[in-house]
């Protein structure tokens, strides 16, 4: 591995211009292609369609390759890739949709999956409900969230990005990220609780006072 750190200078010039095309290609494949499954999973959450997700990943990788000289070795490659993914998504799909920005209801702030399960009583009941949730239900619940909330929750809870990194990926202030995360998680919990309820794992909230107690 040839490290060019010593020759790097703050000239503002691209870091990897000195690489030959073949070297660049090799580096790129070695560093970026291992992220492919993850990028595809992310693209599935972005587009919610396998075909679109493939197109998005392909275009993202092409774009990343073209601008790979701008990536600074030693900085967070994954965050850089997701930034490229995000902007690529916006240019490929957002333009076409022109949907008004969706929001979540105010009441969502009061929802707690934990409390909804707890009503049922019994130690560890809540963890049994969690274990019972299927991957398909998780994906569907996430897919139903409005876009900006869905992406914030995905980037934090699945990819493990810090608030600041999400803010950079989504090009939005950190405070906005925090509120999208908070409300997005609540909405996700509500959707998951709904699936649990449909399967009889949770009591209907309307039956609250009927059975069991008093």
């Amino acid at each position: 591995v040839s490290d060019t750190t010593s020759s790097r200078r703050p000239t503002g010039g691209p870091v990897r211009q000195d690489l030959s095309d073949a070297e660049r290609r090799t580096r790129f494949e070695a560093e970026v292609l291992p992220h492919l499954d993850r990028l595809y999973s992310a693209a599935m959450r972005y587009t919610r369609d396998p075909h679109d997700a493939s197109d998005l990943v392909q275009e993202t990788v092409a774009k990343a390759y073209r601008s790979f000289h701008q990536y600074r070795p030693g900085t967070n490659l994954k965050a850089w890739l997701y930034r490229v993914l995000h902007t690529t998504y916006l240019s490929m799909y957002r333009k076409a949709q022109r949907r008004p920005q969706e929001s979540l209801q105010d009441e969502i702030d009061d929802f707690s999956f934990y409390d909804a399960v707890g009503r049922r009583g019994g130690r560890s009941a809540e963890f049994e409900v969690l274990e019972a949730l299927t991957d398909d239900e998780v994906k569907a619940a996430l897919a139903d969230l409005p876009e900006t909330f869905r992406l914030a929750v995905y980037l934090a809870d699945v990819e493990g990005f810090a608030y600041k990194e999400i803010a950079e990926i989504m090009d939005t202030p950190v405070g906005t990220v925090m509120s999208r995360l908070h409300r997005g998680r609540k909405a996700l919990q509500k959707a998951l609780a709904e699936y649990a309820r449909e399967r009889g794992l949770l009591d209907d909230p309307d039956d609250d006072s009927m059975e069991g107690q008093r």
Binding site: R38, S41, R45, S54, Q58, A62, F113, T134, L142, E159
Partner: protein
Amino acid sequence: MSDQSADGDLPGPATPSRVPARLESSAASPECGADCQQALAELERFLDGELPNSEIGRVSEHLAACYPCTDRATFEEQLRAVVRRGCVDAAPADLVDRIRITLDEGMVRGGARPGD
């Protein structure tokens, strides 16, 4: 390559639990009070690892001493694990091939550029 990494490279951060084990000596759970409310208000940032160092101790000490709050925190943490686990998709087999072709094309284009 997608085959191996699908399992080997688990999604998300392999962070150890941030929720401390409850102290045995504090078996008697306090009633939910001001301490609980304060800890729960900071729980999300705590679990996200975004709480300033100066505030981590307070939350983590409270959790260690309070069963109901620990239970809630563990639930929230496990819920995130369920979400993380549920959001894995393996890239289709032909995607790598498509990407290699794209890169080949990019190389031709890239080679033709003067020095952009």
